[in-house]
Symmetry: C2
Subunit: 426 residues, 2 copies
């Protein structure tokens, strides 16, 4: 392998990625824009040179920028800063949540990894930065995505920064905040009258048309690269804990990709010798309105039966989750569990997290916190072990979910008399 010369004329390391490999049959492919195995239609994943990964050091990572690119030695693209198409997301806060732990009876230490701190306020900035950097390297001229909202926000913002043509496809019944937060960046914003699964099917078909031949669909033709971006959430968790793995993590499940990649990140860190080996259990969180992976887990099945999603956790409303079986596998292999919670429990989860930590999560975060509570109460999660819960998005994007539950505690005239009548003073 030869080194690349970056824009600032310093030598940069080559990518550690060597191939795309089918997760089903193991067939390998070059590092091109393809996401399904030609042999068995299984999903492709980036494979790395394990010797190169093993040579990566903590010091090398710690000397990097305070964003996902500090982990470039463990990612398929972006080693050269000049090659990146990015809002520089990542290195979001890992927040010690002692007051939440006390309410839940968790004694082993509880942390919230708060990805609402990313540039467009969801974890999607991580995957989009990696996907668009790969897309640029592969020669694509335009970008697109199918999205439940956050991904569209992120793709549109990245494209605006870089000056790329973006076409984002979303279900037309999305939260208004997520529609506006894409539209403001002036992409082609296509509202589709259907579910996310309908939108996803449509963009798969559009990817085959002449008009979209030069378009990178971030979660389709460049999905193997895209998905690797999620690993950074796992890397950061370990580094921010002082280079060690947490005993338990609670992760929301939409497509299932995030959960599997956090698990993959922990595995890689151990293999690379960046953390000591220690057991970790991965727990999955779904909403009752869309819980196909939970259902399969509870029934002891390997196959995830598609469902028609309902409920307020729209960013998790993927009824036919591409990585569902792999999420199931990671949960079972590590001794975790999957739970689901109702819309009311989700609202309670948002409120509980906010009033004990100062973190305002979107519905997906409410799902995860409510599932954490349920896992503790049911004895599935060990309260004596250190636990990390992931908040993947921002409460301001799903305001309607709780707007009718919270509000002013007092309303007064602008006078001491008004304050007195409201009981604030006597």
């Amino acid at each position: 392998m030869t080194s690349v010369i970056s824009a600032d004329h310093t030598s940069v390391a080559p990518s550690p990625a060597t191939a795309l490999r089918c997760r089903n049959c193991g067939a390998t492919y070059p590092l091109i824009a393809v996401h399904a195995c030609a042999e068995c239609f299984g999903p492709l994943e980036v494979a790395y040179d394990e010797q190169v990964l093993a040579a990566v050091t903590r010091e090398q990572i710690e000397a990097g920028p305070h964003n996902i690119w500090r982990y470039a030695p463990l990612l398929p693209v972006g080693q050269d800063p000049a090659s990146r198409v990015t809002l520089d997301p990542g290195f979001t806060p890992l927040i010690r949540a002692d007051r939440l732990a006390a309410e839940l009876g968790i004694t082993g230490g509880l942390w919230v990894k708060d990805d609402s701190a990313n540039p467009t306020h969801s974890f999607k900035d991580r995957v989009v930065s990696v996907a668009l950097t790969a897309a640029k390297g592969l020669g694509f001229e335009a970008v697109a995505c199918a999205s439940t909202g956050n991904l569209a926000n992120s793709v549109a913002a990245h494209a605006a920064r870089a000056g790329l043509l973006a076409t984002v496809f979303v279900p037309s019944d999305l939260e208004p905040a997520k529609i506006v937060n894409s539209a403001v960046y002036a992409p082609r914003l296509v509202a589709v009258d259907g579910s996310y699964d309908d939108v996803n099917r449509l963009t798969s078909e559009l990817g085959e048309t002449d008009e979209f031949e030069s378009t990178a669909f971030v979660n389709q033709n460049v999905r193997p690269y895209y998905a690797e971006g999620s690993k950074t959430l796992g890397y950061e968790t370990a580094e921010q804990l002082g280079w060690r793995l947490p005993a338990q993590v609670v992760v929301p499940i939409a497509s299932g990709s995030l959960l599997t990649k956090i698990d993959k990140a922990f595995t890689e860190l151990v293999k690379a010798g960046l953390v000591d080996e220690s057991p970790w259990a991965v727990f999955g969180a779904q909403s009752a309105g869309c819980s196909p992976v939970y259902t399969a887990f509870a029934a002891g099945q390997d196959v995830v039966q598609p469902v028609k999603p309902t409920g307020i956790a729209k960013s998790l409303n993927i009824g036919n989750p591409a990585d569902g079986p792999y999420a199931l596998d990671a949960v079972r292999r590590t001794g975790g569990a999957i739970e689901s919670v109702t819309d009311d429990e989700i609202r309670d989860g948002i409120a509980l997290l906010a009033r004990t930590t100062g973190i305002f999560a979107e519905t997906a975060g409410g799902v995860t916190v409510a599932v954490l509570k349920k896992l503790v109460e049911s004895g599935q999660l060990d309260p004596a072990k250190e636990t990390v819960v992931y908040n993947t998005g921002e409460g301001l994007k799903t305001l309607d979910a709780i707007a009718d539950r919270v509000g002013p505690t007092h309303r007064i005239a602008p006078s001491l008399r008004g304050a007195r009548e409201a009981g604030l003073i006597s």
Copy 2:
């Protein structure tokens, strides 16, 4: 001065603050909870030991955390990490905005300092962290504020994290997002039927009552400490530029405090030898609906006449700005200017910033970008000089301002036929 021993048993430096000093008459006071001069009613400001400041080094700061506390050697409180009441805001991105510069004809380099990246998505987290840390040190048991929205969000979130009783007072006609984003943290949230200036007057009166004797009002009795938090925006700008001052900055004006503190930060950095001396010009931005400082500037007056605010830039709607005269002074002394823009120009500013940078600003950011445009077009700002524009808040909090201007560009059925009818494919 003696060193303090922090919770992790390392020795920490003492505060460089020596006194509170009246900005009008120069009378000094000990570092207590008082904000107006007993002699002349002028505003009090923190004074520092200039020898201590001069001993601060770049290396010392760079070795600190990636948040405002890296500047603890230049702040009145927070030297001991265990003393802080904080969400750890700051060190927000300084983003090179080449596409925006090209549209505006700015050739000298343009940067956006994006404070929507703070924990509660506005610059207020900076001042609240400093104010509440001071309040804790001064023995207060509860916190409160009068707010146009962002300050309430930040105080409520800080109090939730720390487990403090918070009472936040806001005008009852605030944007719904800002109401919910305070209420979710479960403070006492008092909606007052009046303007911000009415709310501010009321909280001044409440501060004198027995019920609020042990309450720190962040922008009243601990205001001198609070205001110092804004200096960190100036420090960061210089450090992120590679330890040098920008030639021009464009800053929104509400109370005027932020603008004066950025100017103060630049002055301190030069005095402390942390940057080379170079001229800078400070420009102020107001909305036409509330432009008392602009009006005084344009009329060549020193006195700011109070106004009754209107218009969509609610976070800037302070009709009687406490630091208006000092903002005027900073602008005139540095050779800057002040402009104001209409609600439509504000909306255009939000859209322009978003589609060229990927940054979604609240109305205050729209004001600042629109003023930047106006300053360039009118020849008041030199397009050949390096310029930094400050985005102080998050677009998701003022969604209604642009919700009727942006939206889907296409709406289709979930099929290739639908895509064809919309002209996306042929």
